[in-house]
Symmetry: C2
DNA sequence: CCGCATCCGTTTCGATACTG
DNA sequence: CAGTATCGAAACGGATGCGG
C-alpha cells in the first residue's frame, strides 16, 4: 500500500518532500533521468530496494505527477516508466545533491555504484575536445547497454545500444568513474580485465580525457 | 536511537540521502538556514515532528557534519544548533526544491505554513527598489521575531529582533506570503486584524512591493 | 521471464509521558 | 528548557507466490 503521509506544511520544500521525500523515491527518479525504464530495469538498478517498495514508489510518483506509465508500441509491448516534464525538472536538483554528497566528509565506504550514477557523472563531467568529430559509443555496465553520443564538446546518454557504434566499452560503474580525468586508467583496467573495448580507441580517449571530475 | 540505515550506494546522490534523506532531516536544515536555533525553537517551527524525532535528527546531522552544536556565551548559556559550511551548501538545493514543490500540480491543501518558509520566500522574491534607502524592519511571526535588513535591492534576514527597527510588522506566515507581490494585501490584512504594523509605513511598502513571487 | 501482490519479521515513526 | 523513555502504528526489507 502506497505511503500517504504528509508533512502538513504548505511550504514548497515540505510539499516537494511529500512527493519525493519517501525512502528510495529520489533514487527511482534518478534512474529515470537517462530515459524510460521498465520495472525490471529499475529493480536491477536498485537491487537493495525490495520489489514492493519499487512498485509502491512508482505508484506514488505516478499519482503525484512525477512519472508516467507508458506502453511501448508493438512489437515490444512492454511497459515503461518515464519522467513527466515536472519530474524532469528534478534533474538539476538531483545533480546538485549528488555533488553535495560527494563533497561530504563521509568515509568512502566500500559499496556498490549504480550504473546510472556513473553515467550521469560521465555526462556531467566529460569534456570531450570540442573540435573532435562527432562519434557514437556503446557503454555496457552491469549487463545493460547505453549509447553515448559525443558532439560539440558535449555528451548525450540514452538507453539501449546503438546499431553500429564507433567504439564500445564494457566495464563496471566504479571503473568507469575512475577513468574520468584519469588518462591511463583505461589501459590499466583493460590489462586488469576490468574493461573490454572494441572499435576506434581514439573515440574512447576523447570521451574520457580532459574530464572535470572533482578528484578527492 | 538515531537511524543508521544506508542505501549502500557510492553514488553522490545516495550518499547525500544517507545524510539528509531521513524523514524531517531536510526540514530541520531548512529551519537553520536563517541562523542558529535552539531545540525549543526547532520544535515550535516543526510542531508536527515529535521531540525524539527532532533530537534524533539533530544527533544524526551533527554526527554527519551537517550541523554543529554550540554553547552560547554567557549570560545566555543556552545551546544552539547551527549549520556547518557543508550544511549551508544545501541552501540552494533546498530553495530549488521549494520552487519545484510549489510548481507541482498538487492541490493546495489547507495546512500550516512555517515561518522560516515564509521568510525564505520573502528573502528570495522580495525586490526592494535598489534606490530605496537602507532600512531595518522587525518581523514577528508565530510569536518569534526576525530582522529584515533592506539594502541595495537585497533583503537579509536574521533571527531575533533589532533594537530599534525603522518599521515593524506582526502577522502570520501565510498572510506575509500573500503580501508578496500583492500591493494592497497589507492594508487589507491590517483592517482584517491579521496584521499589525508600526513605524515607517514606507519601509514595509519597499519590502513587500515589486516582488517576483510566482503567482499561480 | 516480467510485473507485480502477499505475507511476515524488523525498524522507524509519532504521540504521550516523564526526567534532569 | 532540553531533551529521554515507552509503546502502538506504520513503513521497510526480504522471501515467496502467481497470473500473463
Amino acid at each position: 500500500m502506497p505511503t500517504s503521509r504528509s508533512y502538513g506544511d504548505a511550504c514548497g520544500t515540505a510539499r516537494a518532500l511529500d512527493v519525493v521525500g519517501e525512502r528510495w523515491a529520489l533514487l527511482v527518479v534518478r534512474e529515470l533521468l537517462l530515459g524510460p525504464q521498465r520495472f525490471t530495469d529499475l529493480r536491477r538498478a536498485l537491487p537493495a530496494a525490495s520489489s514492493n517498495l519499487v512498485a509502491d514508489r512508482l505508484r506514488e510518483l505516478e499519482s503525484h505527477g512525477v512519472i508516467r506509465r507508458r506502453k511501448l508500441p508493438p512489437p515490444a509491448g512492454s511497459q515503461v516508466y518515464e519522467l513527466t516534464a515536472w519530474g524532469r525538472d528534478l534533474e538539476p536538483i538531483l545533480l546538485a545533491l549528488g555533488d553535495w554528497g560527494t563533497r561530504g566528509p563521509l568515509p568512502p565506504e566500500p559499496s556498490s555504484l549504480s550504473a546510472t550514477s556513473a553515467l550521469l557523472n560521465l555526462r556531467s563531467y566529460a569534456r570531450p575536445a570540442p573540435e573532435a568529430p562527432p562519434a557514437t559509443c556503446q557503454i555496457e555496465l552491469d549487463d545493460r547497454a547505453w549509447t553515448a553520443e559525443i558532439a560539440a564538446g558535449q555528451v548525450r546518454i540514452t538507453p539501449a545500444g546503438p546499431a553500429r557504434p564507433d567504439a564500445s566499452l564494457r566495464t563496471d560503474p566504479r571503473t568507469l568513474l575512475a577513468m574520468l580525468g584519469n588518462p591511463g586508467a583505461l589501459e590499466v583496467a583493460i590489462s586488469d580485465g576490468r574493461a573490454e573495448t572494441s572499435g576506434d580507441p581514439q573515440v574512447l580517449r576523447v570521451l574520457l580525457e580532459n574530464s572535470a571530475f572533482p578528484t578527492g
